[in-house]
């Protein structure tokens, strides 16, 4: 691969309190929640999110715990669907593996004699574990979710079956938003990391391997600008 392929592509929404749009700023000072602009467009039409949706603007069929009555989800973000490819390929290979390997293993391990019913139970156990493997990997993707609402940003990280981490920040506490795209695969499939920096000692929020990072950064930038306009 050409070294230039791995050069980071970075973008940043620079926020300014000035009335004129600053460099890189998407938001118009007059933008309101329901007017045009990334946020206005996102809220203007509702879309149903599928179970495989990695980027759902204004999803009509998603709610979350402790959602306030007047709070609307603008964007639901998961890792790009292509990031699931390794485990899907492995699961397919493992599902057909017994067809090819059982006769070979029967020859190699011919000194082992177990009854047919035990062999069947072993095979069922194998496919049950495979089903569990698929469920775990799908869950790790499905629940690793970022939500951008009209009031706040929520980042739910589910890195392990026993480990989940939820961070949220209000829009008015966000200082800066930027994104990074590194490498050929990320460029081809247009996904990257969106980093949302918050004020003070609060932890930053990161949408890891999110599709269309520039659009996400646009929307967050627009929200922040809108919040500042409302405050001033």
């Amino acid at each position: 691969m050409d070294p230039s392929d791995t050069k980071p592509i970075t973008g940043e929404i620079i926020l300014s309190d000035e009335k004129s749009p600053s460099k890189g700023s998407i938001a118009s000072p007059t933008t309101t929640k329901n007017s045009k602009g990334p946020v206005g467009e996102a809220l203007s039409e509702k879309h149903g999110a599928h179970f495989f949706s990695a980027f759902a603007q204004n999803p009509s069929n998603v709610v979350f715990q402790f959602q306030e009555p007047d709070e609307e989800i603008i964007l639901l973000v998961r890792k790009h669907i292509i990031t699931n490819l390794p485990w899907i390929v492995l699961a397919i290979l493992l599902s057909i593996a017994p067809v090819f390997f059982t006769p070979i293993l029967a020859n190699i391990l011919s000194f082992i004699s177990i009854s047919a019913i035990t062999q069947t139970a072993l095979l069922f156990t194998y496919y049950l574990v495979l089903f569990g493997y698929i469920l775990v990997n799908f869950s790790l993707w499905y629940f690793h979710v970022g939500l951008i609402t009209t009031e706040r940003i929520i980042d739910m990280d589910f890195t392990n079956i026993l480990v989940k981490h939820v961070a949220e920040t209000r829009i008015d506490l966000i200082e800066d938003v930027s994104y990074t795209q590194v490498g050929g695969i990320r460029t081809i499939f247009n996904y990257g990391d969106v980093i949302i920096q918050t004020a003070g000692t609060k932890a930053n929020i990161e949408f890891d391997r999110a599709p269309r990072p520039a659009v996400i950064a646009d929307i967050v930038g627009d929200l922040i600008q809108q919040e500042r306009d409302e405050d001033s």
Binding site: G48, F51, V62, I117, T118, G132, F143, V145, M156
Partner: protein
């Protein structure tokens, strides 16, 4: 049952590959059922945290089927084999 009989039974058990496999399978399935239980509980909780109305109930059912299948297989190995 006296001591030689017990030793004889243990020797028979140790040399019977089928029984050894069944014991191994039971132990694996006990651990697996616990894992399936934790997975089900975690997914039920997460589905209530972020509820994708059209898919969350299906996902809950899939996870429940997984738990039932694991328990069923354990019971099958324990009592029928």
């Amino acid at each position: 049952m006296n001591t030689p009989d017990i030793l004889q039974s243990l020797l028979l058990l140790a040399t019977n590959q089928d029984i050894l496999f069944k014991i191994g399978l039971v132990l694996i399935l006990i651990v697996y059922v616990l894992f399936a239980l934790i997975l089900a509980r975690q997914i039920f909780l997460l589905n209530s945290t972020v509820n994708q109305i059209s898919f969350s109930p299906i996902f809950n059912i899939l996870v429940f089927v997984h738990l039932v299948a694991a328990t069923g297989l354990l019971l099958f190995v324990l009592f029928l084999l």
